[in-house]
Symmetry: C2
Subunit: 306 residues, 2 copies
């Protein structure tokens, strides 16, 4: 089977200079699974409260996302509020109400435990570890995290980073976690923990992917209209893992293509609030933008010997 | 003949977390011409004071740079002092002593006036215009500028931007000049003034080049050691124009390669203080790093039809 993702399903209240979305659908697992669903089968593990409307569950199902692992428990759904200024690069968190997230004990349905691909989206590293221990023999595991866990649970986070194949992390968080201001040094330091690849997300500046002996640089797609950057990182990760799972090509060339598919998906998602753009996105648009990424970055190499 | 550049030749006092350089050789025309000299003939137009040591002139001559247009007048050489923090992305200017720069009236030697390529480095836009009017029929003219002229002489700057083929500018300055927070919109706005191409420098995030109907994204080379970013932008421009002048290929593919050569030169220059790295740089190193840029950015495209 395809990908299992554990993370959050949330309500977001988001303000940008271009508008406001109140109690809109959000959460790391939501963005990831919706994005990945354009490429492969996805099964979601998360928790919501009694207030979570069936309409949102129906949206996930309409994307063929397996929601057997979506627990609904007593209480309110996790709620994040944030605001972006004109540069749109960093959200200011206004309020975080964990609500049912504090009660979350992931327990994977039996059908999930043979997943080939596992994504541990941004969530308490102890929960990430618990999910990791429940999946039998994944071909590839990737994880994300955030500044909150770097400050509050650095040791638990370190244990997770030692167990995964690919770490996906923001530029600032890579620096924060390692205490290295130079990004190349920060990357070497994280890779030395044991993962094979580090994918550093740089917002409107794109992505750098490091291995022990190579680097790949992908730009972000230059957009004239960016309405809401919320979920861009998880949408990137969903496109990245989704494409990998669809091809099964885990060699460097396949992983580089997957980075571009992830970047394509993120570029669409920021064009509207919440997951609104995803609702009307078609696969031919994804391929068309992938081709534009090629045109965006292409230059002639030098002849073999001069 | 090759390139004529007008700009500053200066003393810099620079502090970074990795050291301090006091009264070292600097200036936009110095960085530009040294970088371009690896590719083509360069003739420099600038002014220095009586305190400017012959050793620096000899360095420029050792790079085969034509210094006939380097005026030496009474007074002190332009002196800039700045400091960089750990992120190395933006200099804090501590002191600017214009000195002889206030007396500068560029008067091009007759041999300069048939230049094919002209670079108007960062300097008073009225002086840029004066130099432009002295060159008879250049094949290509490019210019740079800085926040100081955007605030103090926006109209003179606008007249220059209307007269050149390529504008090279920092990301923040593109936003400042146009009042547009979105970079794609800012780029469209500058191009609408009349230039054919806009090259936006983004420091450690590389370069975006815009035309009316295309964008090219080039990353910066990921370096483990960056000692001094001073002059990176002018060194980039020197490699860019130098390579263009050496091939004469002003089609899009040639210009994209030139962007990479510019990025290569900038990546070397920041590896040491002042122009120290340039003193030992060899052409085979430049080509080798160009090839690494190819490896850094390459990914497989999709088949023609899927």
């Amino acid at each position: 089977m395809g990908i299992v993702v554990v993370g959050t399903v949330a309500f977001d209240t988001v303000e940008t200079p271009f508008g406001r979305g109140e109690n809109v659908l959000g959460g790391s697992a939501t963005y990831f699974s919706t994005s990945a669903s354009f490429f492969t089968d996805v099964s979601l593990v998360a928790v919501v409260g009694e207030d979570f409307p069936d309409e949102h569950v129906q949206f996930l199902k309409s994307r063929d996302i397996n929601t057997d692992g979506l627990q609904r428990i007593q209480g309110k759904t996790f709620h994040w509020s944030g605001r972006y200024g004109y540069d749109l690069n960093e959200a200011q968190t206004l309020d975080t109400q964990l609500n049912v997230l504090t009660q979350f004990r992931p327990n994977l349905p039996e059908s999930y435990r043979d997943a080939d691909y596992l994504f541990l989206a941004n969530i308490d590293p102890d929960l990430q570890m618990e999910v990791l221990s429940q999946v039998r023999r994944p071909k590839m595991v990737a994880c994300d995290t955030m500044n909150f866990w770097i400050s509050s649970k650095p040791e638990a986070l370190r244990r997770v980073l030692q167990m995964v194949d690919i770490v996906v992390i923001n530029e600032g968080e890579a620096r924060q976690f390692t205490g290295e201001s130079n990004l190349v040094k920060a990357a070497r330091s994280i890779i030395s923990l044991g993962c094979k690849r580090l994918v550093v997300k740089r917002g409107e500046y794109g992505v750098l992917m490091f291995t022990a002996d190579s680097v790949f640089a992908a730009p972000a797609y230059p957009l004239e209209e960016v309405f809401d950057p919320t979920g861009a990182g998880d949408t990137f990760a969903g496109g990245f893992m989704g494409y990998l799972a669809s091809t099964g090509n885990l060699a460097d060339d396949g992983i580089r293509q997957a980075i571009i598919f992830g970047s394509v998906m993120a570029s669409f998602n920021v064009e509207d609030f919440s997951l609104n753009r995803m609702k009307f996105l078609e696969y031919r648009e994804i391929e068309s933008r992938f081709r534009r990424f090629k045109a965006l970055t292409h230059f002639q190499g030098l002849p073999e010997s001069i």
